[in-house]
Amino acid sequence: MKFRCERADLEKVLGTAGRAVTTRGGALPVLAGIHLELAGDQLQATGTDLDLTITVTAVVGGEEDGTAVLPSKLANDIVRAVPPGKIEVTIEGDEAHISAARSEFSLRVIPADEFPRMAEPPESAVQLDGAAFRDALKQVVKAASSDDSRPILTGVLMAAEGDGLRLVSTDSYRLSVRDLPGTSVLTGDESVLVPSRSLSELSKVLDGDDALTLRLGERDAAFESGDVRVSTRLIEGDFPNYRGLIPDSQPNKLVVNRAELLEAVRRVRLLAQEATPVRMMMKSGGLELVAVTQDVGQAHEAIDATYDGEELTVAFNPEYLLDGLEVTSGDEISLETVDALKPAVLRSSDNPDFLYLLMPVRVS
């Protein structure tokens, strides 16, 4: 195999495919590599950890077809390190030669026949609005669990909702629900559970406003956008019944400027150490935030807000609160509560398509 291209192009190809490469020393050493396949001027690079697979294609100046598996981290580091301009990659036997300007590298390749064969992406395809979907992913991936001992919660539920698509995630402490009206991917009570890690990587490799194609299969799904395809295994199992947890209406409603609250929580959080919460004291005059860490100190801040309801203090994990405030759109948000122990609901005042439900911290 032999090809030339711009360093910047190869950097993007290897960097993108490398995002799927496992960083943990797994059982299969070949998974630490990126699979390269050159046919004519088409270079295809694939990285996988078996759950998540990212494939990138690019047009290069091909001289000799072939396949090879390069160690991902080393190849990425080399390509990033060499000066901009032309770069040439040649594979001979079990050695790869990378040369750019006056730099020459040769490195041992990983036997290509050990690389797992990738299943063809499912046939059926639907088009999604790439920008809207990426926006929705950013809103939901954070609330998914990263705890592998609860595999169902590490997924994002994609389900039909009316004539649209709904994305739901929860780590059992907060719950994100995002509706994409008019996006019909699934119908009836169809739903799939997509690993949030895959979706998080997808949101990072999605390019701007490119159209997005979704191919859904029984056990896997593939997202295609431009030159990139992100394939992922689906999680099997039943997502918890979240619907009953979202109250229709709640007695107490706080309306506040989102940026002001966000900044204030970030400041007050400095004194919410050792897993202590930030307390929100809500009364008709406005909102006060308090954080107290024993033997360290305390922080207090008052914020203008409209509050309709009983005087109430609710404590939250500041990180969870910030996560919600950061992904809710618009200038103004509402926080609806029942009492200090029941779920609070965060919404944008001008966009009904997203809600963030947050469980309080019980303080004694």
């Binding site: 059992s172 719950l175 918890p240 979240y242 404590a315 469980m359 309080p360 019980r362």
Partner: protein, 395 residues
């Protein structure tokens, strides 16, 4: 000073059963949990399997462990510690460091206090306790070990180096079989010889961090204070599995029993923890641990069980091929349960109401009044607490 009960479990048995006194006896079934001094004299050691022990000492008497009795004795002894000085740092169920340096005018000299403490433990609990007294924790610990059983050893400030230097290198904290073998290759067998080599050479032999530590200890520099008030950072329990091979299902049931007990102790102490650690000991006596850190601290039996099960299943092949002889569970990274992140109620099993309802029933009717269906008809045997429970000490 360092106070350490002698052959703790075995001594409790000998105290409660006069026929065992003066005899070689051991607590435990398949694996020895504790051996009396009479048995130790014949070579019987803790963690030895019973066949080996019988070979060494054919008339060895085996007694089933009574964890409740040991817990109660431990509680009583710690109460005496707490009465002696407010500065008590528990190390395990049967040993603690006590700082009595400020009590000279109030109670008396350390030697007097140690003598009193030993008498109180003997009179009130009926057990022998060995006490080492010195200016540093390290020397105190070495001294209590050196004067066992039923001893008191005071290392006077002027005699520290004379006491320390003839000791074998194994006496130094952190020196195990590997390091001592490495040092022995260079002809270094005593603490004094360690003190005789310069820091750089020592570091090149043992690694940098260990080198600095050993160098300091060998020169009798030990700055560590007796730490109290620091609430315990982990709660754990372990179970020796004996010589019989257990099926994986049995192991899961045993794990459930451990989780049940440990999470209960967390709730009793108003604590929550984030890190779940499993300890394994295999047939060849090698040990290993696996841990998982949860996104949030918990004292929920169901949440801990989920994490612990995953850890156990990950090692299933190894457990089955290498034969597991001990399984332990520790919950670490503890913090106060004063601020508890509430969970969405879709996971009914993890409901705090269920846990507290079970706790309340067991408080009223005893631990055995309510059990897991999985454990029905299975003797999971005694689980051994690794440390005195949080909340045992007076605030």
């Amino acid at each position: 000073m360092h106070a350490d009960l002698d052959a703790f479990y075995a001594s409790v048995e000998q105290r409660d059963n006069p026929r065992l006194r003066g005899k070689a006896m051991a607590v435990g079934g398949g694996v020895i949990l504790a051996a009396s001094y009479e048995a130790r004299a014949r070579g019987v050691r803790t963690a030895m399997n019973s066949r080996e022990a019988r070979r060494l000492c054919p008339d060895l008497i085996f007694v089933d462990p009574r964890i409740d009795a040991y817990t109660e004795a431990s509680r009583q002894v710690f109460a005496i510690f707490d009465n002696t000085t407010p500065l008590v740092e528990p190390i395990s169920v049967d040993e603690a460091f006590l700082d009595v340096s400020g009590l000279r005018r109030i109670t008396g000299t350390p030697t007097y206090i140690a003598t009193q403490l030993r008498e109180q433990v003997r009179a009130q609990v009926g057990l022998n306790i060995s006490v080492g007294v010195a200016r540093t924790k390290f020397l105190a610990k070495v001294a209590s070990g050196a004067c066992k059983p039923d001893g008191l050893l005071v290392v006077e400030p002027a005699g520290e180096l004379n006491f320390l230097h003839p000791l074998p290198v194994r006496a130094l904290w952190g020196v195990g079989a590997k390091t001592s073998a490495k040092l022995a290759e260079k002809g270094i067998t005593t603490v004094g010889e360690v003190a005789g080599i310069d820091l750089q050479t020592l570091c090149s032999l043992t690694g940098k961090a260990a080198g600095h530590k050993l160098h300091a200890l060998a020169h009798n520099r030990d700055q560590r204070q007796v730490v109290t008030g620091k609430r315990r950072s982990s709660v754990g329990s372990q179970r020796a599995l004996g010589s019989r091979t257990r099926t994986f299902e049995e192991l899961e049931a045993i794990l459930l029993g451990l989780v049940d007990g440990v999470s209960r102790r967390l709730r009793d102490g108003n604590r929550v923890g984030r890190t779940v650690t499993l300890r394994f000991r295999f047939g060849d006596f090698t040990r290993d641990t696996r841990s998982h850190t949860l996104p949030d601290a918990t004292a929920s039996t169901a949440v801990v069980l989920d994490a612990a099960r995953v850890l156990l299943r990950q090692r299933r092949d190894e457990i089955e091929s290498r034969k597991l002889t001990l399984l332990g569970l520790t919950i670490g990274n503890l913090c106060s349960a004063d601020a508890v992140q509430q969970s969405l109620p879709f996971d009914q099993r993890a409901s705090p109401q269920l846990d507290s309802a079970i706790d309340a029933l067991r408080d009223r009717f005893g631990t055995d009044s309510l059990g897991r269906a999985t454990l029905l008809g299975k003797s999971t045997g005694p689980a051994v607490p690794l440390l005195p429970d949080p909340g045992v000490q007076a605030p």
